[in-house]
Structures are given as C-alpha cells and as structure tokens.
Symmetry: C2
C-alpha cells in the first residue's frame, strides 16, 4: 500500500494515520477536509503528508480511502467519489452503525459496492479533533468489519490488514449482528443516561437535585454529555435494534419494580448480585481499557 | 469537645477522625469495632487514639458518638447503647437513607431520641476500610443532616459543627426530602446500571456482548459493581421514593420509545440536547469533584 486517503482528519482519522506511520513511514497519506486550518494543523503535526481539498483529485491512484467524517457525511462523500473511484481502490468507513451505511453504500456505489468494506473502530470520542489524535489509540482495541455478500474478499483483507497494522484486533461479523451488539453495550447506556438526566433536568427542583449529585451520578451520566446530533443519527440509524433493547429493558425495569413493591429483599439482592458479579468480571478483564466509544 | 467515639472505623469513620485531627489534635478518639486487626491498624495509622471493644465502656463520658458501620448495624448499636447513653452525649449516623434510620432511632431511643441527629456525608464508597481513610475526604463535600421535630437544637448544632470542622458543607433538610433527592440522583443511577448489566448478563451471547463493551459502558456501569447487600438495604429502606422514581423513569422511557417508533429525529435531538446541556453544566460546576457516593 502506497497511498492512503482520509476524509475527516479528526481523532479517528488522525490516529489511524499516526498508527500506520509507526511501521509504514513511507506511506503517503492525503487528508481531505473542509477546514483549511485543520488540514494545516494535520500537516504541521505530521499526521498527513498532504492536504487536498478536492475529493476527486485526492482519490486518484489511492489504494485505500477511509471515510472518518461525522457519519452523516458518508453518503455525500460516496456520491462525490463514486464516478471517479478506480478499480484498485478500496473504500472503508468508521461509523458506529453499519446496517445503514451498507444500505446507502450499496445504493450509491452500485457495481462498485464490492470495493466498499464497512468498519467500526471501537475507540475514541471523549476528545475530538486532530490535536487529540494518538498513534496508540487503536492498540489492542476492537475493530469490527461487516462485509456484505458482495464485498470483494481482497478488499476485505486489505482493510483487515490496515487495522491490524494500526494495532487493532479485527473481528468480522454481519452488519445486523454488529448493530444488535452495539445497541446493547453502547447505544443503550447512552440512551438510559440521556433519559435520566433529561428526566431530572425537567423538574422544578432540578437545581437542588444536581447540587447533591456526586460520584455515582457523575460516572453513570458522563455519556449524557455526548453530542445530541451524533446520538440522534445513531438512534435513527439503529432504530430497530434499539427498540428491541428498550423493550427488554422495560421488562427488566418492571421486574425491579415488582421486587420493590413486594419488599422482596432476597430477589433484589439476587438481581444486584448477578449484575455486580458480571460487572466485576468484566472490569477485571478490562483494567487497562481506557478507550471511549 | 473532648471525646469522640466512632463505631465502624472504615473509610467514612476513619476519614472523619483524620479530618478532625487536622485542627483538633487533642481530641480523644475511641474506635469500636468487631475486628481486632482492623482496630490495631486504625491505631497504627494514627486514626484513633484507643480501641474499645465494649460499646458501653466506649461511650462513657463521650461528647459525640458516630455510627459509621454498615447501615444494618445501626439499630443493633442503638439498642446496645441506649440504656447507657449519658444526657450530654450526642449520637449521629452516616447512612445513605434517613427516613428509616429516624424511625428506628425514635423507637429504640425513646425519650433519648432528642440526642440523635441523623446525617449523610456524600463521599466515599469506591474503596473501603480504614486503610482507604483520608483526612481530606470530606473537604467541600456535602453533608446532609435531617433533624426531626424532637431533635435537640444544641445536639444539631454540635453535629453540624463537627462536620464543618471536618471540612464539609452542611445542609439541613427533612428526612423525606433527603430520601427523595437521593433516590433521584444516587439510588436511581445505581438501579438503572444494575438493571442493564443484569439484563445483558442473562443473555446467551453475554460473553460476546461484554467483549465489545468499551468506555461508555465502563463508566455507565461502574456502580453496578457496588455491594449487592448495601444496595438491597438502601432499596428497601428508600422503597417509596424509589418506586416513584421508577415510575417517572418508565414514563421517560416510553417517551423515548415513541420518538424512535415515529422516527422523530427532531424530538430525539431535543431530548438529547436537554440532557447534554444539563450534564455539561453540571460537569462544569463539579470539575474537581472526585467523590463517590
């Protein structure tokens, strides 16, 4: 691989560039972005070799094109480049949901859809922008690739290798499985945290309530400070899986409520024990895991 | 104040002792606990001056008795000391719920209930035991005192002053108001986190789910690793306020679900924006707040 093009040189795109440069210093990395200031910063920081504002000029002769912009930009970029995409170029993305990305890529790219490999690196989000980019962001982190039936196997191998060179552990699964898993372990925590904070903030004594909130609230609700636009898009994109998760959670809440109503101390303790044991086991296996999603 | 007796020399009791010693080095602090090893450690660490295994001998001539044991011990200790409690001694506790403590103290102490001041320091819980005790644990942290109608005003002033000397900000409110506030900002986050982890852990693909959980899940669910026994007791003790909170949350969940069902992107964004703004405002005011509850 000689030429890599990155649309959106922020935390994810910038960190991928830095990670690859560790072992492939001769790789020519071209950044495409709307902000000239940000592109200049990316050059100054040694993240990219070249900034090219014109997408079509940028992708000429590229081995790989990575779309690491906010997810709403993905279809716009695919439309811009589709007609000029060379047969030897593989395109990938880094969005948090995959079913929607595959559907739109299939529609936009047509016969070139086989050159597209949908991906999701599980890292980054606390800070954003190229100044937050780190060469080790993906080290030992999960990257999920969700090939479709049409996906070219060589294209898949190229993207898999790219992320492994960047330090990540690559897993392949269907887009449907990916979206179901992340609805459960990532999207639901966000929705539940948003819901509690919105509920509390809407009350007449909200100011008093927040003045007594402490460490438990802080950690639980940290993700409720996330970008509303990003989570609107993720929620709509992963709507079906999320609706199924919300239904499961409503059943769990009803169980908890009935244990309380019946003063069932043993039942409550059993529920808390199952959760506490599972969370402690998870924590013990993820002690050094400081990634955000 | 010359003599302070602490039942349960763990994180809370030990930190209170260390905090008071900063400005009152001559204060005589007596620890009462079941573990001889722990008491010896508390003496070696300079947390207490003396260990006295006999509760009745311990409280003789005491100005203040602090009950900082696990909350289930409080009625047992009150029963043990009630008959020997001198008129000049004030008793306080450090439990997370206050309505239940006041009800049991009233029943056990009878006419001596006026010497009891219910309290709740909002700090500590991540680590436990006397080795985790820190002199600055309560600095600028909230301590809520919930006097009853019968509470002696001088006794209230004594405990208020005690916590202020220990570095805390003291607020007085009714036990009912306290329990409603902490159901919302502390107990609900715990229950919601327990519920999600229990829901995920019970599934046939739990192992796979947890293997893809990352930073958002980690912070959201940290409190789900909390003590099942402690949270069983808190849930039962604060049952009424919690049931009302769960009902409010069920309404919020139903709203979220209907926004998703209707593909209402603007409505979802508005909900997320309200939460995100409230959480960011709270975070800005609590940047240095590293306490746990």
């Amino acid at each position: 691989m000689k030429k890599l093009v990155i649309f959106g040189v922020g935390l994810i795109g910038g960190s991928l560039a830095l990670a690859l440069k560790r072992t492939s210093p001769s790789l020519h990395i071209v950044g495409v972005g709307r902000s000239g200031d940000n592109m200049q910063k990316a050059i100054d920081l040694g993240v990219i070799n070249e900034a090219e504002p014109d997408p079509i000029a940028a992708i000429a002769g590229a081995d790989v094109v990575v779309i690491a912009t906010p997810v709403a930009q993905t279809p716009i970029i695919l439309k811009l480049i589709e007609n000029h995409l060379e047969a030897g170029t593989v395109v990938t993305d880094a969005g948090s949901t995959k079913g929607d990305v595959i559907a739109c890529a299939k529609e936009i790219l047509g016969s070139k859809f086989r050159q597209f490999v949908a991906g999701h690196p599980i890292a980054g989000a606390e800070k954003s922008g190229v100044t937050a980019a780190r060469a080790d962001l993906f080290d030992n982190k999960n990257v999920v690739l969700t090939p479709a039936q049409e996906t070219d196997l060589q294209a898949l191998a190229t993207i898999s290798q790219l992320w492994q060179i960047a330090g990540a552990r690559v897993t392949e699964m269907s887009a449907e499985e990916h979206d179901a898993i992340f609805a459960a372990v990532s999207h639901m925590p966000h929705l539940l945290a948003f819901a509690l904070v919105d509920d509390l903030a809407s009350r007449s004594n909200a100011k008093q309530l927040f003045s007594f909130a402490a460490g438990g609230f802080r950690d639980f609700s940290r993700i409720a400070a996330s970008s509303p636009e990003m989570w609107r898009d993720i929620s709509i994109a992963n709507r079906d899986a999320l609706l199924s998760e919300i239904s499961a959670y409503q059943i769990e809440m009803a169980l908890l409520k009935s244990l309380l109503e019946n003063n069932d101390a043993a039942g409550l303790q059993a529920l808390f024990e199952r959760a506490s044991e599972a969370r402690r086991n998870w924590g013990n296996q993820h002690i050094t895991n400081s990634d955000k999603q």
